[in-house]
Subunit: 422 residues, 2 copies
């Protein structure tokens, strides 16, 4: 009888759930401040929805099966196809720009590595229907503000921003890289950080084996981290506007222009960005950019789109590196205890009255000595015990005991049910 | 190119999501007040976890497949097996009674009927490690308080409470129904509300075709709605204690003792209950009870357990019957507008400062006439527009325009970034 979850899946005990709720809370709070509305979609979709967007490694990692109705279905590996489908349903009715976010659980059957799970939750924030760089600045700003909301500053977290259009212009003008070669070259450059050798090989392959051009591109790759001259090119105007906007928002200290960021996926068409921990000891915290052709490809509606995905796993590691492992935060603030069985009805009435005030309350569910009850109260992390005995009942009072200071005061039942401050 | 979700799955647009968050919010708030901690588990489990508990219709409705690693897996149709597995992992370390809740999404491939989906979200609240009837009262009280928290009173929602032990004693003492016949008879009685004929047939079958005893049981079935005499039996002592406790909590007006509630599933061992809309026009809002043998059966740990499941679908219908369909609540409170392009940097700084205050803010993402910007502001449901032009910038001010009253006032930028009350 196995007690474990499937490999790559998480059992989320209360302490881990508390950390997840901290992350989700900041995600929702920042999304709200930025004027984004929440949506959700099915975790199971027709497989066809994911294969419409071809050339993607995702398809090989699908949890895919045939349902009892003979449909080819898959657990969702990403949210964007569902978003595209939903937006397309209401494309003309929705006021543009559409600002939507969601927190789906996503599934991929990957070979397991440390910290690499087969499911995770991922915030998706997208602006649909606006092609200008202020939209890009909005979603990058929101991503940065989430990290700020979790207490991280510019010395801990960096946003690296780039624009594929600048690279495309440069590669075209200086090395004659055509549209048909571009994605292969960019996908190769994307590997540069991890392995310059693998990058060189991929670039040469994308250039039909032309070693001379490949070498020239790789020489360039080494200089992409210093954006100075590139940022002055004509194609960099949107990127400059985006970076300026982030500066005006007061977030400039977090932002590096870094043309080494190209994002591996073929569907990005403009500005791309990733957030990293400053020490680069973890994988990317978040990644996104502009994908203006995707909505048409998946949903048949021609609307520009920019957005990002931010998972709960790397974010959880970042917080754990700073704060240590999560601790359970007990919801119990007040423990109602009784002296004898005759006090039970009064205790139940008081417990319910305190709960009506929004206070987290527990009491012993069976006959127990007062000492045992107070022990349970302490183990739950309650700040106070409220004790009712025959004398207290007669006086319509209870004894409020601070579990920290061990001090006691008698308080009227009406005050306890009213506005008594624990 | 299909734009629809799979049959039985929901696309949750922002207005529907807002209602879901209303429901989830009350679920979490009441659970917290009752001292319950939240946990979560994987939506995909080994199929074996669900087949351990045999004799269940659930197994035939599983979304079941083989994963790429050759494992027989299934989308979770219910949370209790995962809970049992998780509790068993930490059975000795966890302080009893364990009060845990979760809000899983569950999946069943059922034939579709109106309002019958293939996925739903379900609040699960359980108390583990306490066999006494105060634990039952706690979970029933929490279920009732959730409905109260959503604004429903005793004339709209009823809790029907019963105890299988009373029926077992009665059926044994008066009709000689033995332990091996009991589940079949109870499962038959469970059908009585929907179809007395089907109930009679099932009961007779459970009694090996004995028409005389079956008739006697069915005569009894007609009288189970009037609990008077049954509630006086010795086996009804825990039920009386539970009902008294609910009365002491002030929830007695919601509670009916009704022995027609038996719950169809074999694993219930004591008190069982369901919540219904008073008019009985919908399916049960929630159902639960005591299942003291289940944790041992699934997780190998012998701990008593009582709990319930409450889905989001019927609850949503109940709210919609009262409040009408959900409406989108825009997160945008303040719209920041500019007179010209030169005002953009100041507008971005102000927008971000307002967001830092927790206010939902939007602004135009492209160059637009002021009138157009104010139109977008109104369509978002913003209460105020804040307009910045050259004169305002020079004076370090902005014009605050109420979109309801069309009145305008000039306010300093520092006050707007500070504590100005919109």
């Amino acid at each position: 009888m196995s007690l474990s979850a499937l490999p790559g899946f998480r059992d989320v005990f209360p302490e881990a759930l508390a950390r997840r709720r901290q992350i989700f809370g900041v995600w929702r709070e920042v999304a709200k401040r930025y004027g984004f509305e929440e949506y959700d979609g099915p975790p199971l979709e027709a497989t066809d929805l994911y294969t419409r967007k071809s050339g993607d490694e995702i398809v090989g990692q699908l949890y895919r099966f045939e349902d009892k109705g003979g449909r080819d279905v898959a657990l969702r590996p990403e949210m964007t196809p569902t978003l595209a489908r939903m937006v397309a349903q209401r494309a003309s009715a929705l006021r543009k720009p559409i600002r939507w976010f969601s927190i789906p659980q996503l599934f991929r059957y990957e070979r397991q590595q440390r910290g690499r799970l087969r499911e995770h939750f991922q915030l998706n924030m997208d602006i649909i229907g606006e092609a200008g760089p202020l939209a890009d600045a909005e979603v990058i700003g929101a991503a940065v503000d989430i990290l700020r909301g979790l207490g991280f500053g510019p010395s801990e977290v960096r946003a690296r921003v780039s624009d594929r259009r600048v690279l495309a212009e440069l590669l075209g003008a200086e090395f004659g890289v055509g549209a048909e070669e571009l994605h292969g070259v960019l996908a190769g450059l994307d590997k540069f950080d991890k392995s310059p050798e693998a990058a060189a090989e991929a670039v040469q392959q994308a250039l039909a084996g032309d070693a001379q051009r490949a070498q020239a591109v790789m020489d360039l790759a080494g200089r992409l981290g210093e954006p100075g001259e590139l940022l002055g090119r004509g194609a960099a105007a949107p990127l400059r506007e985006c970076v300026d906007a982030l500066g005006a928002m007061g977030l400039g200290a977090f932002v590096d222009v870094d043309f080494r960021i190209v994002r591996g996926l073929a569907y990005y068409t403009g500005i791309v960005f990733e957030l990293f921990d400053a020490g680069r000891s973890l994988r990317a915290i978040c990644g996104g950019g502009r994908y203006d052709a995707l909505l048409k490809q998946i949903g048949g509606v021609d609307l520009p789109m920019v957005g990002f995905g931010m998972g709960d796993v790397v974010l959880g590691e970042l917080i754990a590196d700073r704060d240590g492992p999560p601790v359970a935060a007990s919801p119990v603030q007040v423990f109602v205890a009784t002296v004898g069985e005759d006090d039970r009805a009064a205790a139940l009435a008081l417990a319910h009255a305190l709960r009506e005030r929004g206070i987290g309350v527990e009491f012993a569910l069976k006959k127990q000595a007062l000492g045992k009850q107070l022990e349970l109260a302490a183990s739950r992390g309650a700040t106070h015990a409220v004790v009712i005995g025959p004398d207290e009942r007669a006086a319509r009072q209870a004894v409020v005991r601070s579990l920290a200071t061990k001090t006691e005061t008698r308080v009227g039942l009406d005050a306890l049910a009213g506005d008594y401050a624990f």
